[in-house]
Symmetry: C2
Subunit: 445 residues, 2 copies
């Protein structure tokens, strides 16, 4: 069922066929269809949807379409949609809406739900609390399998997942976990306490959401319990939310590595001015930081006036240093964010990078010596100066590239700010200093 087919149904006014189709297809695709509707069609079609389908599709719409629908609804209709939404989708909605809309939405929800939503809204943006949901299935360990299944059938229908079942004691402390498949293959009279896993992997509400996502990825979980400091169950993070976190964090890392302030919207949905704002600060900072290289070159101006041939190798040296440094910094940054590298590994990393950089540096300096002599017809002295500078630069760049991200993390910053452009600026300045120092001593300028 393509968007075109759905549009045809709409334009031929075959509403019941359209509603049936929207009910049948995936909510993500249905939301893509809704985004093609005109301002008049959107609320009309939305009103025709079944209550639960409407909530599912609503959760997948972009914030501006959600706002448009909320505006067109009566308080009663709005209240219906809000009660059907999963708690995390309701919170996401409120985070995107303008303030006046937020208070109207909160007014239409039931007091218990409002209380719950407010609790979620208080968690910091990148915390586990901000992505968890409070709709899980929990049972007591004294139940038999038969009773547990009966209880889940009665209470599980509006829960985000019924496949992972949490065993809590009367104080809500998490004592065990089991999967629905364990119940499926157990005998009816077996006890939950005998079936449940007691070795539990959990996170806290204040942990970084990446910690939760990495745990779900590492242990192949469908859902991860979130507990408070007394080990009481307060929420769960499901694998589909973890997937979103993993993709968003990878995109943010890639953007920061390319000197862009991360945004959480797709490229085509961001306006020209917002895109400009996410890019210009870094371009400015990096441009102004090139002042150092300018000062160094100006300082050696008279020497360069005599030996302009040295100038021709400046881009080659700076690029090679920058590339060598960013290879290392990017590798270390990715290792840190996947949890493969820790601060304790710093000496192992430095020792490895030292050896790799000497290997790379030697190969590059032999090649550049040959190129300078044969291709650029430089003198042996100049070729030697360039070759020595390449070796020293590559070793320096790789060691700096390894240290800075780890240092940044140690100081509590995001290591990603230490990616390529930043490293390049430092490496550029040092490369020139090495170059002119070597040149001065060889040529006695």
């Amino acid at each position: 069922m393509t968007i075109e087919t759905l549009s045809e149904l709409l334009h031929e006014r075959k509403f019941s066929a359209l509603i049936e189709a929207l009910d049948e297809i995936n909510a993500v695709d249905a939301a893509e269809f809704m985004a093609t509707l005109t301002d008049e069609e959107l609320p009309t079609v939305f009103r025709l949807l079944k209550k639960d389908t409407a909530a599912e599709i609503f959760a997948e719409l972009s914030p501006d379409l959600q706002e448009q629908i909320v505006k067109s609804m009566s308080d009663k209709e709005l209240s219906g949609v809000m009660e059907e939404l999963f708690i995390d989708d309701a919170v996401d909605l409120l985070e995107e809406m303008p303030a006046s809309m937020v208070s109207r939405i909160l007014k239409t929800t039931s007091p218990e739900r409002r209380h719950e939503i407010n609790r979620f809204l208080k968690y910091p943006e990148d915390s586990v609390g901000s992505i968890m949901t409070s709709e899980w299935v929990s049972i007591y360990s004294s139940l038999t399998v038969e009773k547990a299944v009966e209880y889940i059938r009665k209470t599980g229908i509006d829960k985000e997942t019924v496949y992972v079942i949490y065993v809590t004691d009367p104080r809500k402390i998490l004592v065990g976990i089991l999967e629905l498949r364990d119940l499926l293959f157990a005998k009816p009279e077996e006890l939950i306490s005998d079936l449940m896993q007691t070795s539990i992997i959990s996170v806290q509400t204040t942990d970084d959401r990446e910690v939760a996502a990495n745990a779900i990825s590492k242990y192949d979980l469908l859902a991860l319990p979130v507990v408070d400091s007394e080990n009481r169950l307060v929420g769960i993070v499901t694998v589909d939310d973890a997937v979103d976190v993993i993709q968003e964090e990878a995109t943010a890392d890639i953007e920061m590595m390319a000197a862009i302030t991360p945004t959480d919207k797709p490229y085509l949905q961001i306006g020209v001015f917002s895109t400009f704002l996410s890019r210009i600060p870094w371009l400015l900072i990096l441009m102004l930081s090139a002042t150092f290289t300018g000062i160094i070159i100006t300082h050696y101006e008279s020497a360069l006036g005599q030996m302009v041939v040295l100038t021709a190798f400046i881009p080659l040296l700076m690029n090679t240093g920058g590339n060598a440094g960013s290879q290392t910094s990017v590798t270390v940054i990715r290792g840190l964010s996947l949890g493969e590298l820790r601060m304790g590994n710093i000496f192992r990393i430095l020792w490895k990078e030292l050896r790799v950089s000497i290997l790379c540096g030697l190969v590059l300096s032999v090649v550049v010596f040959g190129k300078a002599m044969l291709l650029d017809r430089a003198s042996a002295e100049v070729a030697l100066i360039v070759a020595v500078t390449v070796l020293a630069t590559v070793v320096f760049a790789k060691l700096v590239g390894a240290c800075l991200p780890i240092l940044a993390k140690r100081l509590g910053f995001d290591p990603t700010v230490m990616a390529s452009p930043f490293i390049t600026t430092i490496v550029d300045a040092v490369t020139l200093l090495i170059y002119f120092a070597v040149a001065s001593s060889v040529l006695e300028l």
Copy 2:
């Protein structure tokens, strides 16, 4: 239960407590403990494990530990482990083992399993076929819920997931999908044909594995069916494998953007020489491509000899151009790999980048003009030359950065090769040409 506690149990020779603990904790953690054992301890502890726990832990071990264990096992023991492994883990194992080991392992498996493994081994490395598994639950649409549950209880125990159930006809053609939760909340006498979803999202074995991972992420699926050209079900991809694909592909993209040949091992597990090999080709290519900038500078050697002040701005211009270009190329590459951008969007992208680049270029050129005059005490002519070059460079760099990845994709290459270092090389050369052209016309050199 930490690794230290487990080691204590081992050294106090409390084997039954150790085995019980390894059975209780997550297989990933158990594998981390196994990796700390000596060459003698490893096979001994492994032999003590329960058969199904052994297979679970084995699947999480690194290839060299797997090899060590396989070597220490009799054919009979090996055959036991192979039958317990999920098919995708068995295939992964065989892909990592040396050839002599592979034939020994295949000899110990049952003919049906051997046939199935061989089929999987034939799929290309990055295809859906290489990550799918053949252990799913399928039922006929004519069953009642009660009969279906009975059937799943009987056949589902060794399946990779029982939460997504596939409905096929006698020719194995996929006709519907339902979730175990649908069965849980249905009445016993309802028919599968009335409950199942018939609008099915599926992929083919030859699709790129990223297509499957993106579909699972987009539609929040627990598993995705893989069909052949006649819509017969041949496998499923589960969400945990999709998560691995998403993380591996993001890492590979990041590495390629930093001019590193991607590897699929964690940093600390790669040897110095392999790391060197993954980095040196790109450093060499990029260094040699700086020949162009060298030629351009040499060409203007006499002019530069007269105006060494122009040299001082070369690093600033090249860095700014490079950064502006990589901001755009990285954004476009990420959009392409997340499926947010397509080739059809090229004109929309170019039009947006044109406007963003003019905004960025204007701000940067005003700032650099002020900086050149006030901070560097350059003449008004030189400041003007630099400012005009910055504007032209930023616009050029952003348009090239938008075009090249899309062009690469169009030609069937991975757009990621068009990331920062490659763009920088092109932008560097063009920046210098613009700079000297502007300088010549202003200063009449």
